[in-house]
């Protein structure tokens, strides 16, 4: 089966639409929208009175001959008023700060705990995204297929300039940096096609660095993996070194990939100097083979 046919088969079952932070399609984006709305309301407690007072004062105290409003050029102190506008913002920031702390910690954990999470290793390349599915053994470029209702741990790195991985409908972004692995939890709660993009400037073809996110049922996802595995199109080390070259390519699907590829890339791009600060890498770097590093460097 051709790549196009394989993609379109899944696409048929789900609908697209405009992506927006305001229309969350998953629990992470939902939580983030809540804090966006909450902070908007809290700040408006100060902003609205400021703007209303501003209009009122400008009108009432304008410099007109017969303006009857009181003119008191020496009046410049009021303990009560000053305590009010030092105090009220402190309370507001206190509330918002506590709420922010709570959500910040919550987002470091999987959004739901009763479903077994899956992992996807993401590599930002010039100018394309490589997605590796360690649990399924398949890989894709510029197209991400995920099952609905399963928390996904995205482990992010870059083989090139630092980038940022963003799917507005599913939740906020995280940087993909060379030599490091960063984790972002996301989950789709309803099927759909969502927009994903590079969010941090990476050079000339940055604008074209978008990817399609297809969230589909678990059954359809398993079927997609099964069919992809049957296509004889492995991502080899040689193919990867071609992917590393600056270029724009469309969607690619791979039936398999070298299992250590992700760890190799992280290791080679600087991870080898940071083992202490990255416990997650400690277990994987052992398997890195010099042969593979050489092959990729060519």
């Amino acid at each position: 089966m051709s790549h196009a046919a394989l993609s379109s088969r899944i696409l048929l079952t789900v609908q697209g639409g405009l992506s927006s932070v305001l229309k969350p399609a998953g629990p992470v984006a939902g939580q983030e929208l809540k804090i966006i709305a909450g902070s908007l309301i809290l700040t408006m407690i100060v902003v609205v009175p400021v703007i209303v007072l501003f209009g009122f004062i400008l009108w009432r105290y304008r410099d007109k001959q017969d303006n009857p409003a009181r003119y008191d050029p020496e009046w410049s102190e009021s303990k009560v008023l000053e305590i009010a506008w030092w105090g009220i913002p402190i309370v507001i920031i206190g509330i918002l700060g506590a709420y922010t702390a709570k959500v910040t910690y919550a987002l470091t954990r999987p959004p739901v705990t009763d479903v077994k999470p899956m992992t996807i290793d993401v590599t930002s390349l010039d100018w394309k995204w490589l997605f590796e599915y360690p649990d399924q053994g398949v890989a894709t470029v510029n197209e991400l297929v995920i099952p609905v209702g399963v928390p996904v741990a995205f482990d992010l790195t870059a083989d090139g300039p630092m980038n940022s991985f963003w799917i507005p409908s599913l939740g906020g972004q995280e940087y993909a940096m060379p030599g490091m692995v960063m984790r972002l939890w996301l989950e789709a709660s309803r099927p759909g096609v969502y927009y994903g993009h590079a969010a941090n400037f990476t050079g000339q073809q940055f604008a074209g660095m978008q990817f399609k996110v297809v969230a589909t049922s678990r059954a359809a996802f398993s079927e997609w993996v099964r069919q992809l595995k049957q296509v004889d199109h492995p991502l080899t080390v040689t193919l990867y070194s071609q992917l590393r070259q600056p270029s724009e390519i469309g969607v690619q699907l791979y039936s398999s990939y070298p299992r250590d590829l992700f760890a190799e890339v992280v290791w080679r791009e600087g991870g080898q100097y940071m083992v202490d600060s990255m416990p997650s890498l400690g277990s994987t770097h052992v398997s890195v083979s010099p042969v593979m590093v050489n092959a990729m460097n060519q």
Binding site: S19, V21, L22, Q31, I35, I36, S39, L40, L42, T43, M44, V46, V47, V50, I51, F54, I57, L58, R62, D63, R70, Y71, P73, E74, S76, S78, E82, W85, W86, P89, I93, G97, T100, A101, V103, T104, Y105, L107, T108, P161, M162, S164, W166, P168, S169, G171, G172, Q173, M177, P178, G179, H197, A199, F201, T202, G203, F206, A207, Y273, M274
Partner: protein, 657 residues
Amino acid sequence: MPAWFRDFADHYLMWNEGYLIWISDILILLVSLGIVFTLTYLKKWKWLWKEWLTTVDHKKIGIMYLICALLMFFRGGVDALLLRTQLALPGEHFLSAEHYDQIFTTHGTIMILFMAMPFMFALFNVAVPLQIGARDVAFPYLNALSFWLFFFGALLFNLSFVFGGSPDAGWTSYPPLTENAFDPGPGENFYLLGIQISGIGSIATGINFLVTILKMRAPGMTLMKMPLFSWSVLASCIIIIFAFPALAVALGLLMMDRLFGAHFFTMYHGGDPMMFVNLFWVWGHPEVYIVVLPAYGVYSEVIATFARKRIFGYTSMVISLMLIAVISYFVWAHHFFTMGAGADVNTFFAIATMAVGIPTGVKAFNWLFTMFRGRIQFKLPMLWALAAIPAFAIGGATGVMLATAPGDYQYHNSYFLVAHFHQMLIGAVVFGYLAGMYYWWPKMFGFKLDERLGKIAFWLFNIGFYVGFMPMYFLGLNGMQRRMYTYPSDMGWGTLNFVATIGAYLMGLGFLFIVAQVLYSIRYGERDITGDAWDGRTLEWSIPSPAPAYNFAVIPTIHDRDAWWELKQRGEADAYKTRREDVHDIHMPKPSGRPFLAGVGFFFAGMGFVFEWRWLAVLGLLGVVACLISRALDDEEEYEMKADDIIETEAKLGRLI
């Protein structure tokens, strides 16, 4: 065409890049010829050298900063219009990706470092010594050196547009994108050297004004009687002194990576790109407060003057300025909540960032209550100050929203962020500087700027400001990232982008009206013969406009916070006039060509580093060293201005009693 010329034209003059370069080349050539011709025709070369290039007078240095800032405002503005034109419609090909990247890089860099900074230094120079009753700044020679370092740094940076190629990795210049592997060529070097050279000048200015304010206030002016603008400059200088060295280090290390094969920020050999990001923002966020605090100072002066009332809550105003200055060091990581620092770090920086909102909110309420029970006159300086309040309320609110780390995961690098920082940097900073420019213009030049043209400019710019930036908040929430040179039509971003572009053009039109206003007013503007154009409150309004070279023939003694206003209220304004017997000889700093020549030295050294022409770098630096030695051996850096001459000048100004 000889091969070497073809090579030169393609490599350095970039003539293969198309018509934008050719037009710029022709324009630059014409303008330069025009300037040379005019100066020669009017026999003004000597005047230029004696009165301006060698001056150490803070008032003239202030004017030179202002001229440069307005020119850079124009350049940065044209950049902005090019960007907005490219983004007006989806899938446009007005600019190539490469050119778009260069233009957003130069737009950001120029607006922050070569527009906002010199505009701010212009106001420092023009107002601070006069406001605190000083004859000059603490180190006038250093002040001139600061200016010329800024000037030649800016010149070097701008040269990249027509010679060698512009930087194209964003004004934030994150490695590894800015390392040789991804970004060869001189463009990024221009960025590093241009900012480095002018940055040295900025640090010196910070020191200069800190010392000036702490040591040179007129007798009786205790710190708590000092005008709020001077307070804001003090706060800003403290931040400059602690923040700018971090930038100098970041740029210096990246330069070593690029030019000498070091590995501070590379991925290999133990380099760490994150280190640059940290150093950059350790400077970068305080920088925001460096530029915004003096604008707050302007609002405090302008609002009190035009509401004809004492500033409300002076003590709170001072405390909030200093609090912002201190907190500004503890917020830098909010620029990279999304870089995996972890929940502990993010929570700390989120709350610290929100905390800045508290003193800032206090200032807004105090300005409002300064006007409460006042009499508000809607003159140009006041209009700009007033316009800042709503802009700043909205921009401040979105700032607090951005500070919520989880929310920032969705805002980061999106147009929401772009909208926010433009709203602050224009609405709070540029509006403040324009208010300051209108306010002190009569003090600088002796005439007011035309109200009618100014009001047209004001409304065009303000309407354009909201039309231009409000849609960007929604573009960001709809997923549009910053720095994309084009976008597909099926994203639904077309309409909002088109509206934003209209706003940008309205602002551009507003700027043209300001230019027209200045040109018109040079000829027809209302002359200020009293020295007190706005019925002001502080010392600078007690002396003639423009102030004489020595500022104060006799240093005044201060008794009140609004010293000049209180005297006028009591009918004792004559107390600040000059009595013949009080006038003595004054030590004045001598003009010197060395700061200018040292700047030239730095410029050529910079060129040498940019193109890796080591011989030129060495020559330029030798020039700088020669200037330093010659200064060290110079024993006659001051001259005596005779009391009789001063009395004569004062008599002519009608100030002798």
